[in-house]
Amino acid sequence: MIVGVLPDVHRTVDAAWKLESAKIVASLTRMVRDVGLAEELAQDALVAALEQWPVSGIPDNPGAWLTTTAKRRALDHLRRAQRLERKQEQLAHELGQRQDRERGADARAEDEPHDVLRLVFLSCHPVLPTEARAALTLRLLGGLTAEEIARAFLVTVTVITQRVAAAKRTLAEEGVPFELPDGDHLAERLSSVLEVVYLIFNEGYSATSGDDLMRPGLCLEALRLGRLLAELAPGEPEVHGLVALMEIQASRAAARTGPSGEPVPLHEQNRGRWDQLLIRRGFTAMLRAREAGGAPGPYMLQAAIAVCHAQARSAEDTDWSQIAALYEALARVLPTPVVRLNRAVAVGKAHGPRAGLDLTDALLADPVLRDYHLLPSVRGDLLAALDRFDEARVEFRRAASLTRNAAERAFLERRADELGAAAPAGPVLGEAAEEFLGRDDLDPATRRSYGQTLRRLRRALGDQQPLASLTADQVTRVFTTAWGEAAPATWNRHRAAARSFGAWASLDDLTAGLDRRTETRPRARPLDPAQLDALWSLPDLPLREETLWRLLYESGAGVTAVLSLNVEDLDLEDRRARAATSTDGPSRARPRTRLRASWRSGTARLLPALLAGRTRGPVFLSDRRPGPARTPEAADLCPDTGRRRLSYERAEYLFKQATRPLDPARAGYTLRRLKQDPRDC
C-alpha cells in the first residue's frame, strides 16, 4: 500500500484506468467476443476500484489490479453463460478446459498488442458513421468518459452516450469479427482508422477557444493513438505519414495563435516557438514512412509538405517550388477543393501570384467552397500581391463576412483596412441590395424572396463589390454554383429577383447569362367554383368516381394518400380517416406517410353505398380482378372480392375522360386540381 500525501483517489483510479483501458477492453473482447459486453465488464472493474480503493487504499500496482479484476469478471461471465447452456456434469469438465484455455491465452503476452490493434480496427469499422467511430475510439482506446468526449466535441452527454451505444449495437448486429483485416481489405480498413485519428486530431487542433482543455486534449489523444498505431503496424507507410503530419502540426501549436487568440498564419509565426522536440519526432516518423516504402499516400504527402515548412529557418527560406510539386502530387491522390486551394497558394508563392490566381479561378464554381472563407482570403492575398488592391479589399471583406470565428474576422478586416481606403467607385453591392430591399413598394413575401437571392449574391461576391464592376459572368457563376441543381421553379424565382434588382440598379445585362428554365411540373391550379359546379352536374356519375372526387375535394388530401385508404381506416361517424403506416410491407399504393383526412356531407352521403358492407381492404377498388400474370401486394387486394386497389393511373384516366367536355382545352382535368387551396376553404 502506498502511504503519504495522495491526490484524490478517484483521480488516481481515473489515471490508471485511462492508461490501461485499451489493453483491458481489448483482451476482454477476445475472451467474450463482444466489444459492448467487454466494455461493460471492464467498467465493472473500474466501479469496483472506485468502491474499494478509498477504503482499502490504492493497490501497489493499480493498472494490474484493474486488469486482473476485469479478467476475473469476464471469466465469471463466461462461467455463468456456460452454466446456462450446459448440464452441470459436463460443465465441471469443460469449464476446467476452458479456463486452461483462457489462462493460456492470457499468458500469451505477445497477443496483447494484436488485441489492441484488433480493437482499433473494430472501433473504426466502416459500417459505423464517422462520428460514431471517433466517439467509440476515444471511449475504448483512450478510456475517455462520455462527459469528456461530449465536452471535446461540443455536444451533449446524451448524444455521445447514444452514439456509442448505437455503434456497439451496429457492430453486434453486423457481426463484425474481432480480427485483423486480411490483405484485400487492409488498405481500406486502415484508411478508415487513419481518417478517425486525423479527425480527432483536427477537432482538437482547430479549436481556438482556450476555455476548455478538453478540445486541445484531443490532439494529444490523436497523437497517442497515432504513435500506438505506428508501433502496432510498423510496416504501413501511411501510419507513419499521419504520425509525422500530426507531430509537426502539433509542434506549431504555441505559435499559431497570437496574444488575443487571433490566428497567426504560418509564414508570420515565430519559429522560435515551434516545438523542436515534436518536429524531430515528426522527421523520425517521416523517415520510418520512407523506409516502409511504397508510393506516397495522402498522409505522407501532407507530412512531406509539413516537413518542408519545418525545415525552413524563416518564411523566406521556404522551398515553395518543392511544396508546389508536393501539392500537385497530393491533388492527384486527394483532389479535394481544399487541397486544390492550398496548391494555388503554393503555386502563387513558387511561380508568381498570377499563376496562383488562375488556379483559384477554377475553384470559384465549386459548390463545396461556396461559403469557405479561405478561398476569398487566398484570392485577396494573391490580388494584393498583384497590386490589384480594390479587388483584394473586396475579397478580404467577403472572407470576413464568411468566417464564424471572431478573431479571424478581425484579422481579415484588418487585412482589408491595410489596403487603404477604397477609391470612390460608386455604389457597392451590399448597400445597393439594402436600398433595393428597403423600398416601400415591396410586399413582405417578395422582400423575403428577393432577400434570399441577394444574400447569396452578396456572400458570393462580397458587399464591397462595386456595382459598376459587376459582370453577367459573375452572376451566372453564382447562380450555377448555388442553384444549378435546384428545381426550375427555384432557379426562375432567383432569376426573376436578380433581373428585378438589375433593372432597378440600371444594370440590365446582369442576368444575360441566365436562361429561364422550363418548369416541368407547375403547381396544379385548383378548379374554380364554376368548373366544380359543372363537374358535380355531370350526368350519370359512377358511384366510385363521384365518391373519390368528393373525398379529394372535401378532404384536401393527396391523391395517392386517398387511394391508399383502407376501409379499416375510415371513421364514418366522425367523417374522418386515419391511415397508419402500412404494416403489410412495402406497397406501391400505400405510402409510408400517415394520412389524416376529414370530409363533409357530400362524401358522407356516398361512402356507405360505395362500401356496401365491406369491412376491410382498399376503399377504392378496380373494376376487374387482376390477371394471372399480375400479383399485386396482399395489402392492395380486397380479401372479399379479390379485386385490386384502384391505381392512380386508372383514376386519373377516368377523371380526364369525364372532364374532357368541361375543359376548354379538351384535355380533361387532373385529379390534383380537385384539391382546394386551403386559403379558399
Partner: protein, 107 residues
C-alpha cells in the same frame, strides 16, 4: 501536459534483469505515445556558477553527488495522476531510491 521525471542515483548497481525490465518499460511507454525523450546523465558533470559579473566553472565530482540527477524521462500525459502512476511503475522496477516529477511549462 508534459512532465519531467528526474531520478537520483542509487547505491545498488543495475543488473541484467533490471536492464531487461527497463528496456520493456521504455518500449511500452514509447509505443503508447507517452514517452517523448529519456536518457541517463554522467555523474558529476561541470558546474557553472555566476556571482555578480563573475562566472566560475568547476569540474566534478562534487560532495553532494546524492542530490544530483542520474537520469530523466520527459513524458506527455493527460494529468498529474497519470505522471505519478508512471513514476510509480518506474520506481517498482528500479527499486529503492527517489524520483521527482515536475510539470514542464512551455515551449
Amino acid at each position: 501536459m508534459r512532465y519531467l521525471m528526474t531520478t537520483k542515483p542509487s547505491d545498488t548497481a543495475p543488473d541484467e534483469k533490471l536492464y531487461a525490465e527497463m528496456g520493456r518499460f521504455i518500449e511500452e511507454l514509447t509505443a503508447a505515445g507517452v514517452l517523448l525523450a529519456t536518457g541517463g546523465l554522467e555523474p558529476g558533470g561541470v558546474r557553472v556558477t555566476s556571482a555578480g559579473d563573475e562566472i566560475t566553472v568547476t569540474d566534478g565530482p562534487f560532495a553532494e553527488a546524492k542530490e544530483a540527477v542520474a537520469g530523466f524521462a520527459l513524458i506527455e500525459v493527460r494529468s498529474q495522476e497519470e505522471a505519478i502512476e508512471l513514476a510509480r511503475r518506474f520506481r517498482r522496477i528500479v527499486g529503492d531510491g527517489e524520483s521527482v516529477v515536475q510539470q514542464v511549462f512551455g515551449p
